[in-house]
Symmetry: C2
Subunit: 170 residues, 2 copies
């Protein structure tokens, strides 16, 4: 794990599968066309079986201010707890998939599983095509939360590039 | 691409294939055990064919201060330019694979391709098992460079977690 620990930080997201919520640090885009993302889940986790069965999930991008709820969703198991009740988050029915979105998260991506990566490892990666998108009008990238092995971080400051208001068409 | 543009930032890395250098924003870990990473490359790019043929690559994590070289490696094609010469970077032979490492980058991960993700999209993702690791003694996660569609960023400040000096065994 030596080398992997050297990576700086990745977005941490809350993934909803049905009414369950899991905290996922293994998350990236997969393709721009069609727009797709991917998430990695340990096969032994309860949520892995849920996702394999459901075949759809939502990515909810939390605010840095929601760190406490992000940690809670990472610690509790959906076997034992209703995480919407535990966190106080508001469940909002998704439009195109059968799952709850987290009302307090500024970005929700509704996804259908289109591929499972067939190579063994600590995680199994699921590719999901984005079939619906909800972005709060006030959201910018600065609001999100980053994580990697042992450290939660803010999104870093802009060094070079477009200002946030040129990135989104709200 | 609406939803994908909302993602905050990911590490941007320099990937060497033989003596070519490419800038890769599509990069994540794949598995802790065995330690593996993955990179996404557009099939139309020159480097895609190089990687498919070589079957091995190195991930070089650049410093935020190397932004100029990172941009240069993203703009030039390896078809036309020797990017070590263009950037002034020092090529260092890898130990376990047949590729050059970038001497000025504080982290180098030598990887062998063990899987290509068989689902179409704008990118093809290559999974590489990490077979050798080099980390400069002074490196911390704060030194790295982040990127996502249109914006280069610093690594964000620590909100909660271990200090950097507890993460690495230099």
């Amino acid at each position: 794990m030596d080398g992997v620990v050297a990576l700086p930080a990745f977005p941490v997201v809350l993934v909803t599968i049905g009414r369950n919520i899991i905290t996922v640090g293994a998350f990236h885009f997969y393709s721009f066309d069609p727009p797709s993302v991917m998430i990695g889940i340990k096969p032994k986790h309860y949520s892995h079986g849920l996702l394999a069965q459901a075949g759809e999930f939502a990515v909810n991008i939390p605010l840095a201010a929601q760190l406490e709820q992000v940690e809670l969703c990472g610690e509790l198991s959906g076997r034992d707890a209703d995480k919407f009740e535990q966190t106080g988050f508001t469940p909002i029915p998704a439009v195109k998939i059968n799952a709850m979105l987290i009302g307090e998260c500024p970005v929700n991506l509704e996804c259908r599983v289109v591929h499972r990566v067939a190579h063994p490892g600590s995680h199994e990666w699921f590719v999901g095509e984005v079939v619906a998108v909800h972005i709060d009008s006030g959201y910018t990238r600065d609001d999100a939360l980053m994580f990697w092995l042992g450290q939660f971080r803010a999104v870093g400051g802009l060094i070079k590039g477009k200002p946030n208001d040129l990135l989104f068409n709200h």
